[in-house]
Subunit: 201 residues, 2 copies
DNA sequence: CCAAAAGTGTTTATGATACACCCATGT
DNA sequence: ACATGGGTGTATCATAAACACTTTTGG
């Protein structure tokens, strides 16, 4: 999700949403505030990524950026540009425009982190609707891991972890058998994690 | 490794080494410089940990700390306090004094990161001498993982990864059979990593 | 009735675990 | 000679991988 900058420097250029931390504001609060102001996105999974502080990374002078990444579920949230952003839009990661500042480097770190962490933390579920089908989950992991997975093995592995609950509902309106919808069980995951369980895909 | 602070705030109190970033200095350079100035330690594995920026964490006003952690090999490096530090000393993690600022929280994050990352990245070798015995390596992992490991299984697993090279030398002066000394093969690790290999203990 | 994806078990291979003795060296 | 850790192999168990057909639904 990129925004087109309304102000100098890099006015009119695509960039990651962001801005300055308030004098009495926590870092994460600032990240959530800026994201909400520029895109309207709220209530997301958000985690600190890395801090970028090369001396010449901002033409205005010395600026240190504490980067955060957010994961947005696929429920079809719309984005609305406002504040300093004149436009906000989703892009595919393999079709990005040129970015302001060192934002291409920040994005590269974020992707690397996501690809690594998704294997040992249940981040994937943050990217799906609250209720999802097993095929949707499998496709997600196939995209992130960059290889095909066996349907039966994937289902067995996921189901034996005991982290999915069957909602009893099915997804309707498809030209084939209606698939069951599942939810991720956050409570159960927290319990398992405490007792030494490690999520692994 | 803690230093006793020579200046206010928290003068005389134990703290993590650190200080302010120069106006034209990269973050990692500042971390290395401060560590060298206050303890004399140089040429270490160093990695960004997390950025701490709660509004009230420093009584002087708003201070954001980009924390780094370093791993020091067991070659018996001595530490020498200087600069703002009046004393520099090693402490066991289960016998720490009270720390200045929120440094106890920073340390907790560092330990958690180390315990987690040591399992999927070859960090352990940074904590040993350049040449080490298999028993030393095993003890290290036993301490970090908090459980005993089987000698034969551990050796087989480590050796089949192909990341250790036999130096041909042995450690002398012990009251028993002289153990072989190994080196970690960084080049080979970099190769394997590129071809999709994941280190795992 | 056709197309399209959902759903389901068994066999094989691979890697993890458990386990006990002889060897080399210094005192 | 003895005490101390160094060094080695095999059998069993658990988990991962390979593999194909029937079922349900909408058009």
């Amino acid at each position: 999700m990129l925004v087109r900058r309304g102000r100098e420097p890099f006015a009119g250029c695509w960039a990651l949403p962001g801005g300055f931390v308030g004098l009495d504001e926590a870092l994460e609060d600032a990240a959530r505030r800026e994201l909400a102001e520029e895109t309207g996105l709220t209530d997301l999974f958000l985690e600190q990524l890395f801090t970028f502080g090369a001396p010449e990374r901002d033409p205005r002078g010395r600026v240190v950026s504490v980067a955060y990444y957010a994961l947005v579920d696929a429920d079809g949230r719309s984005v609305n540009a406002s504040s300093d952003a004149i436009e906000a839009k989703w892009f595919p990661v393999d079709g990005l425009p040129e970015l302001a500042f060192d934002h291409d480097a920040i994005l590269a770190v974020a992707l690397e982190r996501l690809r690594g962490k998704v294997r040992y933390a249940p981040l994937g579920f943050e990217l799906l609707s609250r209720a999802f089908t097993l095929t949707e989950l499998q496709r997600l992991y196939e995209v992130i891991l960059g290889r095909d997975l066996d349907k039966r093995n994937f289902r067995r592995k996921i189901q034996t972890m005991g982290l999915l609950v069957d909602t009893g509902k099915t997804r309707q309106g498809l030209a084939h058998r209606a698939p069951r919808l599942y939810r991720f069980d956050r409570r159960r995951y927290a319990e398992l994690e405490r007792s030494g369980f490690t999520f692994w895909v």
